[in-house]
Symmetry: C2
Subunit: 370 residues, 2 copies
């Protein structure tokens, strides 16, 4: 008879991928008895046939060969959030992973981890936002969780690693099989200064079902999930469903309404399923303990320019970066009467918000005041 850890590794070798029946049987019988039961059903059930065919020694060797740890519930670094998966189902899937292979750093400090996920075929805008968002979150001490896919996922990992932050990739294949292969370098960087985890044994290539099952782990590992870009049907939408089911705050980043990649974020926001996220501060303001953040400033609403009186603000906003405008343009653009516009422009120059050139034209100063 196997011990719990070995039984769980053997069970993980069956690739149950969030099958509800499997998770229920595991909860009912426990890993040791469940494995023994499967082995006894070698002739009669699918799980039994798979169990009989499993090469547990080969699995142990493959685990050691790639330097992976096989983690089980109760281990010090087992992420506690995963147990929430035993409470909920999405699209006939559910259940805490029976075990996890991990390489790289210990899976700790995940209590404020934030998942940043989205489309593979992301836009340049989406990748830029994901990169910046992940960098800002990581710089603020959040572990950034994603799926190491093309597009948003890759940008999120790179953003976090780029500022010396921590990032965890949950993959739909073996932790030793970087997928997609173009992300081999990213995988190496994550193994070095981040972590790669999977409920699938080393050596496995990804399947579509594995991608869906993996999404539940991304959501459960994290304290919040941000969807950056996603077409109307996408894996990110599935991750969003898991976040909602698990009670993790769900955020979505808006974008141009002319982009089909913003369709899902916009739908999630419009229907109240996700909170609009225009930057890391929006996530922080929800995750941070009440009262720990200076509310307005954290949301960028108190830029110094906002403290100008309406009349001054109008004139200041009428001058665009890089242009030089004549006085009559200030009047035309703001609708302010000449005397008022003159007074406002003079005050802005005095306060350092505008520069008046020798020929009387105005432009924004090289460095804004405030």
């Amino acid at each position: 008879m196997l011990g719990e850890r070995e039984a769980r590794m053997a069970l993980a070798g069956l690739e149950s991928l969030g099958a509800i029946g499997f998770a229920k049987a595991l909860a009912e019988f426990g890993p040791v008895d469940l494995w023994d039961g499967f082995v006894g059903q070698a002739e009669t059930t699918t799980w039994g046939r798979k169990a009989a065919a499993l090469d547990l020694d080969g699995l142990r060797r493959a685990t050691d060969a790639c330097g992976a740890r096989f983690l089980i519930p109760g281990d010090a670094e087992w992420p506690v959030g995963l147990s929430d998966l035993d409470r909920v189902q999405v699209a006939q899937q559910g259940g805490q992973p029976v075990g996890l292979w991990a390489i790289g750093e210990q899976l700790n400090q995940l209590d404020t981890a934030v998942a940043v996920v989205g489309a593979r075929a992301a836009s340049g805008y989406g990748e830029q936002v994901a990169l910046t968002l992940a960098a800002d979150l990581a710089a603020a001490g959040h572990v950034v969780v994603s799926g190491m896919a093309f597009g948003i996922d890759g940008a999120a990992h790179r953003g976090a690693l780029g500022v010396g932050g921590r990032s965890v990739a949950v993959v739909a294949c073996g932790v030793d099989e970087p997928y997609p292969s173009a992300h081999r370098q990213l995988a190496a960087a994550l193994a070095e200064t981040g972590s790669i985890v999977s409920e699938l044994p080393p050596g496995l290539r990804p399947t579509r079902y594995a991608f869906l099952a993996r999404n539940r782990i991304i959501a459960a590992l994290s304290s919040a999930v941000v969807v950056v870009e996603a077409a109307l049907r996408s894996g990110a939408k599935n991750t969003a469903s898991w976040a909602s089911a698990l009670g993790r705050p769900l955020f979505a980043v808006p974008g141009p309404v002319t982009s089909s990649l913003s369709a899902t974020p916009h739908r999630l926001i419009r229907d109240g399923e996700a909170i609009l996220c225009a930057g890391a501060a929006d996530v922080e303001s929800v995750l941070a303990p009440l009262g720990s953040l200076p509310e307005a400033e954290s949301r960028g609403e108190q830029r110094p320019v906002d403290r100008l009186s309406p009349g001054l603000f109008e004139i200041r906003e009428a001058v665009l970066p890089g242009e030089e405008v004549v006085f009559s343009q200030l009047c035309a653009r703001t609708g302010q009467p000449v005397l008022e516009a003159l007074a406002n422009a003079a005050e802005l120059v005095e306060l350092g918000w505008l520069e008046e050139l020798a020929d009387g034209r105005f432009r924004l100063p090289r460095r804004p005041a405030g």
Copy 2:
């Protein structure tokens, strides 16, 4: 003693611009007695001094000269929504206009009018969205209300007029004084096939206070208000406050989080003050009587492509417009196993969703199926 219409024209000549005290006095005394009262205070109050100085005959002549009608509450074309202004205040302003000058078409069918407002210094994205949105709303029978300003306002009017729809401009100056002057042609088009209205007498140039007061009329005239782009402080934000105070559904169009012009729409959406608007269908779904719209379709969520099974959809989404991809790219981008991807691609070609070229590459068909 003047009749009601003349008393109201005289009072309108005082340019009260939403002054709360004025509105309260008008409600208490009625227009005729209020005017007589003002005239009697020629030496003692500001309103009295203005009243004593008013040239009512000149006002009548100016009204006739520009072909304007002077409308008062109770007139058949007086927009009933304006009376809501007697109930609410925003930033010390309020009150139904004492009268309105109007040129162009009758102010009818405003019960489903939609205001489309936003930044003067709008982006190309914002103007394009405003134009399309207004065109779609106008084509669906909605009168499009805006302020004839540069940027979003102008685009909204043009979008509505461009599809032969109706548009109403509420201006912060005389109806005969197109402001900004660069919008002279737009003003002529509105006078021809739309309407221009103002609570200010003909001949007046705009002031900042008039812009703010005008916003309350835009909101009250409309059944819904859409903010397309607006910096953190802007007139559109003031219009949004009026919409909220008046109980008009408020919408905001999201955009790139990297654009400061999307800051106000995003804040309104995030804080639950505005509903996310990604297109006319979002406005329609709120304004239309319950059950009168085929919900999902009206929101663009049932594009034919959405009816594909997930496996087919993944492959279809992996091919971007204009590109030709080899089969291995389909596998790499979707993560589907080769046999599954082959079967899915073949089915998509059969259904007309993909084209297979002679060299085996795939591309999107010239006209999508569905």
